[in-house]
Symmetry: C2
Subunit: 389 residues, 2 copies
């Protein structure tokens, strides 16, 4: 186990009707906020009205910025920064999924910063200040409600880049599983793939002696495997929705990273995919992660054997542990298929003519490789994309 | 799953040499602190000198209050409150195990309170304010380093009582597994029993649909089962000490309580034991918990079957699940024995002549029962003590 610092002060308010508390929570921080959300779904479901009622009741003024798209765009972030500055906003409430929260985080760090907010995403500036923000989560998956990350797409070059800072964790996250009843099956499945990827990126490490967090990772993965099929069959199963929602937050709140080094190359590769082709992040991960596994498992077969035995309950083949490792990867692929996700680029209608460009963008100017479980160069990334095709 | 609020902002600083950061951490809060600890062990090991060096280097003044005993006493808490007030102390650093931290928490809430600090423990006053405190942990087990609880013994009547408040969580907890190398085997084992009890008190619930936190509980329990025998054999095994130390914090930081109702009657009964006989809390729990299980398992056999199968890897008897449930309880007892703990009151030299008095004190004036998995009245408590004899 490696030395670590862990602190996550996000206040989780979990359960039925939890969103009715949003006004009183915000009042501790602000009297004038920006309400940030995506399309019309929160209006259709009545959530918008309930949120506005709670905010008004608490005596809080607000301006609105709707329009966040999946793979949230830098241009909207910049518009948000302008609006906040012009209106003296000192708190942002994100109502939505990972895209809305990531967009809100980018606005929150952009408002007090004099330079171009994109500097934080290229690494040429470090986050030192942020407006406080709160979240009402409607799509479990990204884990942004309690994470220190934001991922934004710059339309100029379709670069999808991340910023990571303790400062941008939300002050509170309201998690009501009922709000996820209306999620279409495909979005539910994409969320599941994202959650599983967050865990697996952490799980596949070469750091030895990480038994406790291994077991926590396995517990969280098994929770997703158990309950996602249930909600695809019964979208209004409160208890299964609740298990997924809470597991999703824990999957990415950094507890599961403690003492270990994660890999994160599948995320990096997927960001190039969804940056160019605008596919759902979870769908991209369902394609890339098994391909990545097939490419790297020989690096540390024991870890893949543990994955197969503990997560997928595969009988260990003592004669050929490698066979067990491969069976685990196959089970993962089968699971993704069973919940309606693609497991090849073809299924996503992504052609094979831009692998070189994506691999090139993935290996950013400042690094010559990605990943930690196995360092990947440009040729490796192309090979993984070919395996995923 | 039940609605819940979860927030734990304690900053965990984990790893080798972590205590060298204590001065810079405290500087964010204070220039004049009280250093609170137990006996001479931190001086013998050199920890005291390293802490004082770090504090001085950060330009922080300090007064000292050593002398915390196991089952920390109200009289020392009151002395601490007097010293803090007289010296304008605004931060307390606890260096030690659960007793020292609990004592520090009690002092921290006593300083800004005009009444008798014991009022918080009898429930006649509510905690509204606390000095900030920090922890350097030397004994994993109590989980007080990240918990909202403090347990103090009032020598007047030997009442052992708890206070629980979000306000008293430490600001930071420094966890260096190397500091636990010198723990004697018996104390290591007592810590393990305390950790396991914290998990099991949460695990045995009648709240349905708590799959995710069940799995987290099981993961944490299995970590303890895996690594405690190792450190009893090799006290300086860094990695095994690290697994235990981190699992111990998570066992009691309230993550494992989310969405569930814990039982806590074993803790209540044990507090009467250690309040009167001044035994180690963990040893008392090793005696009481199996007895409690034998008395209550029929209340919800399925839960005990899950415990047996998932935690102890016992083959489920489909014909007689009850046999499986009983086998799980037996395994727990065997484990406690194997790490050198008592599993009967006789082994602790506790006679059977004060069961009535303890049961009476356990059922406090304000309640007629304890526990949630099964409500226990005075007669039940006596029966459990008899089973434990």
């Amino acid at each position: 186990m490696r030395n670590f610092i862990f602190q996550n002060a996000v206040k989780i308010i979990f359960g039925k009707d939890a969103e009715s508390q949003v006004g009183s929570e915000i009042r501790q921080y602000s009297r004038k906020i920006m309400l940030h959300y995506g399309g019309g779904s929160i209006k259709r479901t009545g959530l918008y009205d309930r949120v506005v009622d709670s905010i008004k009741e608490a005596g809080i003024d607000f301006v609105e910025l709707p329009g966040v798209q999946p793979n949230p765009r830098l241009s909207l972030v910049k518009e948000g920064i302008r609006i906040c500055r012009a209106n003296g906003i000192d708190f942002i409430l994100a109502v939505g999924g990972g895209s809305v929260i990531d967009s809100a985080k980018a606005i929150a760090i952009g408002v007090p910063y004099e330079g171009d907010v994109w500097n934080f995403f290229t690494g040429s500036a470090v986050v030192k200040e942020s407006l406080p923000l709160g979240v009402i989560l409607t799509i479990p998956g990204a884990g942004s409600e309690a994470s220190k990350d934001s991922v934004i797409t710059n339309e100029d070059g379709w670069l999808k880049r991340a910023v990571s800072s303790e400062i941008i964790r939300p002050r509170f996250a309201i998690l009501n599983p009922e709000l996820t009843y209306t999620l279409p099956p495909y979005q539910t499945a994409c969320g599941a793939a994202d959650i599983m990827a967050h865990i697996m990126e952490r799980y596949f490490t070469n750091v030895p002696n990480v038994d406790f967090t291994d077991r926590l990772c396995e517990a969280t993965l098994k929770t997703i495997l158990q309950h996602v099929p249930t909600v695809l069959e019964k979208p209004e199963d409160y208890d299964a929705r609740a298990e997924i929602m809470w597991a999703s937050t824990i999957a990415h709140n950094d507890l599961l990273s403690t003492g270990r080094i994660g890999d994160w190359s599948s995320h990096a590769i997927e960001h190039e995919l969804s940056g160019i082709y605008d596919i759902a992040h979870g769908a991209g991960l369902a394609v890339i992660m098994p391909a990545w596994m097939k490419y790297v498992y020989k690096q540390n077969i024991t870890r893949f054997v543990q994955f197969a035995v503990r997560v997928w309950n595969i009988d260990l083949s003592f004669e050929s542990p490698e066979r067990t490792a491969i069976a685990g990867i196959r089970k993962l692929e089968e699971f993704f298929k069973s919940i309606g996700l693609p497991t090849s680029l073809k299924e996503l209608n992504i052609p094979d003519d831009r692998f070189d460009e994506m691999a090139e963008k993935c290996i950013r100017p400042e690094s010559i490789s990605i990943g930690n479980f196995m360092k990947l160069g440009k040729a490796d990334i192309i090979n993984i994309l070919k395996l995923a095709y």
